[in-house]
């Protein structure tokens, strides 16, 4: 019951927010929502399916570039590029998931890492320049939306993203609570036992890879619309590392954790910058270490522990 009230409150706040805060903060909030989708994607793979990925930045980039290329050549309206980005990334993720079945732990981490490192370099490559715009990238127009009187582009994009977030989260929630989710957790925790129970481990794992990539790709597409710009150097390995940090700090295998994590990766660097101008990243690094020592289950873990102590209603 308390949970439902909390969700309702959050939704109300979410809908009201862009009318109450400045344009820049609306932009930041949209950024957080975008990352929340990306982190959900990563969480599906790593948290529920137990396959580590250091390469989700690649899917983020691919999603972003699909949108950018479609808009650049005016082949699709902006809203249609988002599901397309999702589908493309699903296909690539699924295809990647097949060989990934053979790799475990640090070996899989390396393979995904290779993907993340390769992506910006491939994007910069001369042969693809006519498509990708090479090192300079592609500039996009911010979509205006149909309610130009009521909502400025920032606010419109915020609501588009919010709708996407709600739809994707509900879908993920259903997935996780249902048979698929249980199968995934079984595969993660006891792959051998899962297989003997008749679960097609390979199919589940590759499908999860695909879904995970799809979510992150959708996030990338929305992100491109948000920033209005894609270039290879915006998608370095740091993006993948950031996703990993966000997921763990937020709380692995937790739906709410993705929001906490997304907020963390967007807001913390600013806070670190306030604490020290000269070495803000040093502060960020220390914060990460301290957080992991004190809160290994992430922010969501702390929230859960606090909620558990109160008598349930």
């Amino acid at each position: 019951m308390a949970k439902r009230i909390a969700i309702a409150a959050c939704l109300t706040a979410a809908v009201a927010a862009p009318f109450l805060i400045s344009g820049f903060h609306t932009f930041q909030l949209t950024q957080i929502l975008v990352y929340a989708i990306a982190l959900l994607g990563l969480n599906l793979l790593t948290g529920y399916s137990g396959q580590i990925s250091l390469g989700h930045g690649a899917f983020f980039a691919i999603g972003a570039y699909v949108t950018a290329i479609m808009l650049d050549h005016a082949w699709l309206p902006y809203w249609a590029t988002v599901p397309l980005a999702g589908l493309v990334c699903f296909a690539i993720g699924f295809a990647f998931g097949l060989p990934a079945l053979r790799l475990e732990g640090p070996y899989l981490a390396l393979a995904t890492f290779a993907l993340a490192i390769a992506t910006p370099q491939i994007l910069k490559h001369d042969k693809l320049e006519s498509w990708t715009g090479g090192v300079q990238g592609i500039v996009l127009d911010k979509p205006e939306g149909p309610f130009t009187g009521l909502l400025d582009p920032d606010q419109w994009l915020y609501f588009v993203t919010l709708v996407a977030v709600i739809a994707l989260y509900v879908a993920a929630w259903n997935l996780v609570r249902g048979r698929t989710g249980r199968a995934l957790v079984a595969i993660r925790d006891h792959p051998l036992a899962a297989a003997t129970m008749g679960i097609d481990t390979a199919l589940y794992k590759t499908t999860t890879f695909g879904l995970s990539a799809m979510y992150t790709g959708v996030a990338g597409a929305l992100g491109a619309l948000l920033t209005g710009f894609v270039s290879p150097d915006s998608f370095t390995i740091l993006v993948s590392i950031n996703f990993l940090v966000g997921m763990v700090v937020g709380g692995v295998a937790s739906i709410a954790g993705n929001f906490f994590g997304a907020a963390f990766i967007v807001i913390l660097p600013n806070i670190a910058g306030d604490i020290s101008d000269s070495a803000p990243w040093a502060i960020y690094g220390v914060i990460l270490i301290v957080l992991m020592i004190l809160m290994p289950r992430g922010i969501a873990g702390v929230v859960r522990a606090v909620a558990a102590r109160r008598p349930s209603t």
């Binding site: 070996y107 890492f113 690094g285 992991m292 020592i293």
Partner: protein, 290 residues
């Protein structure tokens, strides 16, 4: 043909560095089952320390020795003070700790020493007798020093009592305690050696790649690939993996795709190898008992 040989030799000398760092990664993995993602930044930081000593007038080899001691101590401290606190945490949590360390060390290096590229001296004179047309004296010296360090580390582990205890602690910590080995201390020492190997690699690489905060990040990727290629739990595989990666990277860079994309190509080659040998060339396949 000559050019090919040149590239191969270049690859081997780079490979010595990758192998050294790879061994550090394997040592830490074998004893703690974690990949030390901060290995490169640690090596870079200690290289800056050696640079500072040399700038202050300390003769090269003295600075070298002092830096090795500092690196040993710093690495051991990181294990004892930070990693020990998360030793029972889930893998992902430890990965984030490593990322935090990586970011911290990189940022501190930039802050303390600045980000401008600094030339780093080589102890091997430019016109020394052992240089050839293919191999500059530094490359020869670097390969020799790295291999000598690897040999010393192997010798230590194989022939000394403490080395045996450290191996035991890595293989079976519970049984090690039952023979009186202080496992936590052994882990810290193991990290110390890893720090030492990193410092050697950094000081050997810096004259070629110039000293800047991103000196070791690329090298770390190659070293990680080398360690995995050799088998992440096999110390002998690390230098072999290093040589293979060094040569593959060089050949790919010169003949296939140009320097831009060589890193990706090298990694992709390795991933393909892993698909056929998922535990690396010499890694042990873990047999899961049902």
């Amino acid at each position: 043909m000559e050019a090919l040989l040149h590239q191969v030799m270049l690859g081997i000398s780079n490979g010595a560095i990758y192998g050294g760092v790879a061994l550090a990664l394997v040592m830490i993995f074998k004893s703690t089952h974690h990949v030390n993602f901060a290995q490169g930044e640690l090596a870079m930081f200690t290289t800056y320390v050696s640079w500072t000593l040399i700038q202050a007038g300390v003769p090269y080899w003295a600075a070298f020795a002092l830096t090795l001691m500092f690196a040993f101590a710093l690495a051991a401290a990181i294990q004892g003070l930070i990693l020990q606190r998360v030793q029972h945490a889930p893998v992902l949590v430890v990965v984030i700790v490593f990322i935090g360390l990586l970011i911290f060390l990189n940022s501190m290096a930039s802050w303390i020493f600045g980000t401008t590229i600094k030339p780093f001296p080589s102890p091997f004179a430019v016109d020394a007798w052992y240089g050839t047309a293919y191999f500059s004296p530094h490359q020869v010296g670097m390969t020799v020093v790295t291999l000598a360090t690897l040999a010393a580390v192997y010798g230590f582990f194989r022939y000394t009592r403490l080395g045996l205890a450290m191996r035991a602690a890595a293989i079976n910590p519970i049984s090690s305690r039952l023979v009186g080995v202080r496992v936590d201390l052994m882990l810290a020492l193991c990290w110390g050696f890893a720090g030492l190997l990193g410092a050697v690699a950094g000081m050997m690489a810096a004259p070629m790649f110039y000293l800047a905060p991103d000196l070791m990040s690329g090298i770390l990727v190659y070293a990680l690939a080398a360690a995995l290629l050799g088998g992440i739990d096999n110390p002998w595989g690390a230098p072999i993996g290093g040589f293979i990666v060094g040569v593959a990277e060089n050949l790919a860079g010169s003949y296939l795709v140009g320097t831009q994309i060589r890193l990706s190509v090298a990694l992709l080659i390795i991933v393909v190898v892993l698909l056929f040998k998922p535990s690396g060339l010499f890694g042990r396949k873990s047999v899961v008992r049902v």
